[in-house]
Amino acid sequence: MAEGASEIRLRVWKRKTSLEEDPQTILDAEFLTREGAADLRLSVYAIAPSEVVRVVTEHFAGNGLDSIRNQKDGHLDLSTVFAGTEEVSPENEWFSRARDAHRELVLPDEASLMALIGSLTRCSRHPYLKADAKAYIKDRLDAEDEEWKRFVAVHRNGPKYKRLGGH
């Protein structure tokens, strides 16, 4: 889909409870690289709100996560609190929509990241429900979607996602 004003920059949250914590804990729980450094290239998806179920489900599956998690309170749209450089960063070898929608929001330093964390309460939130994800996977498998067929056949987590889709 073409980029436009209706697009959000969806950040997939690792924990449901992070926003109940102080800024340093939010940083530690949500914004560190795997190696433990402050992440100054924030992974987000440039998508329409209507694509949240599809792209977050593809994110979980394509990134090797062994389960899908509810986020009733919603994943966060960072577009309203970030005004810096954004880079296209294709990521996700299994699903083309998630790959094409992936972006990195580039921050100059950790102070900027902490400032962004301090403004997260202003972000709009987009709920993601496991029931919707299961229905989406079922729909894709019923439709014999090539990407999902390949994923469930080849990926180590394929059988789990196949079960989630009721197949």
């Binding site: 924990r15 560190l32 998690r69 496991k130």
Partner: protein
């Protein structure tokens, strides 16, 4: 259900990162009181945790990160269990360490030590820590763990933790 006093000395109320501490003898005795130390062919057991705890020192600790926790759970799960048990990691790190500990020991034959460490963490005052412990326990769903998570899914003060417990129980 949350006996915060157990953790108050470990988690400053002002939210500042907790400094790493050296274990005290009273904490070691508390572990020893749980079970007699035994070690079963390198599997994670209460005994394994206990033995590692005795040998623990700040000088041994790598910088906390998900990558470090994942390496540790492969190379020495009992050592990671001891680190999580100590609960001296900053809360965000502790949440991930708890989940990685549970996941990384899912295929071990004897994991009562892991269940013990993660179940104890459900009493931590931080919701993000309790959430991580719930995800870790999701890989060790013994009848006792199920019962604990069932209770948590109704009684935890955090919506997110209750939801996580429900989710884990649903599978």
């Amino acid at each position: 259900m949350h006996s915060a006093a157990k953790y108050d000395s470990m988690t400053p109320a002002n939210g500042a990162p907790e400094p790493r501490r050296r274990r005290t003898s009273s904490e070691v005795r508390m572990v020893a009181a749980q079970k007699t130390p035994t070690e079963q062919r390198g599997e994670v057991t209460i005994g394994g945790v206990f033995l590692e705890v005795l040998g623990w020192s700040d000088a041994d600790a790598p910088s906390p990160s998900r990558a470090a926790f994942e390496r540790m759970v492969q190379e020495s799960p009992a050592r990671l269990a001891a680190w999580v048990f100590e609960a001296a990691l900053p809360r965000g790190h502790l949440s991930h360490a708890a989940e990685i500990l549970g996941r990384g020991t899912a295929s071990c034959a004897a994991t009562s030590g892991v269940e013990f460490v993660l179940t104890r963490l459900l009493e931590h005052p931080s919701p993000v820590v309790r959430e991580g412990a719930v995800y870790g326990l999701g890989f060790h769903l013994s009848p006792a763990v199920r019962q604990t998570l069932e209770r948590l899914s109704h009684e935890d003060p955090s919506d997110g933790v209750r939801e996580a417990a429900e989710e884990v129980l649903e599978g």
